[in-house]
């Protein structure tokens, strides 16, 4: 069974540039999560989807971050414009359903903003 797929794995951009991350969850998983992980810290939730609906986006900095999950499968997380402080690893995870607590994580995208 294929795991959670993320691309790109690494991204280096100049500040003020836009950037997008893509995630394909495990087939059949209705719930999708985006996390940000700073160096030496645990992941922090940015947004949580149940199918196409964002059920928790309270931690998403909406002035520059946006996300979508069209058709309830793939998801894209965008930052525009990027700032130096956005350098981090962006992780996508999925689970069977909202009440199913084990989450499966992708390898992440390591973003460096110069």
């Amino acid at each position: 069974e294929a795991g959670v797929v993320q691309s790109p794995r690494y991204k280096i951009i100049e500040k003020k540039q836009p950037v997008a991350f893509w995630c394909n969850p495990i087939s059949g998983h209705n719930t999708l999560y985006w996390y940000r992980q700073n160096l030496g810290q645990g992941p922090e939730l940015l947004i949580r989807y149940e199918n196409e609906e964002a059920v928790d986006d309270s931690q998403l900095p909406k002035d520059r971050f946006s996300a979508e999950r069209l058709k309830g499968v793939d998801s894209t997380l965008k930052i525009q414009p990027a700032e130096l402080g956005d350098s981090a690893v962006y992780l996508c995870a999925s689970s069977l359903a909202l009440g199913y607590y084990e989450q499966f994580f992708g390898p992440g995208t390591r973003l460096t903003v110069l």
């Binding site: 645990g42 922090e44 939730l45 607590y101 084990e102 499966f104």
Partner: protein, 109 residues
């Protein structure tokens, strides 16, 4: 924001020894989970313990939960070099997973 704090922040042991990591959290939970993260396999779920459970085992892992003290511990017995990784506790409340700051475990030969 981080919910839990792991203790110690870093731990170095020799292969064959046991490793114990502790996690403290702040609010009520549905369950608590432990995850492992290394460069090879990313972040992987290890074990889940529900709020009405006190102890759980899985292979070489033993997890305890004390809801009155808002704390949990993870014991890895007979450690191996492959156990070298960062270990995170994560609390679950209302379907939301909140991670702690992690313990970096180094197992040397």
């Amino acid at each position: 924001s981080q919910q839990g704090e792991e203790d110690p922040q870093a731990l170095s042991i020799q292969e064959g020894e046991n490793a114990t990591m502790n996690c403290s959290y702040k609010t009520s939970i549905n369950n608590l989970q432990w995850y492992r993260q290394n460069s090879g396999r990313g972040l992987v779920h290890l074990i889940l313990i529900r709020s009405n459970e006190r102890e759980k085992h899985s292979g070489r892992l033993r997890v305890t939960l004390d809801t009155s003290k808002k704390s949990s511990s993870l014991l890895i017995t007979a450690s191996r070099a492959a156990d070298t990784a960062s270990y995170f506790c994560a609390t679950v409340d209302g379907g939301k997973l909140t991670f702690g700051t992690g313990t970096r475990l180094q197992v040397t030969l």
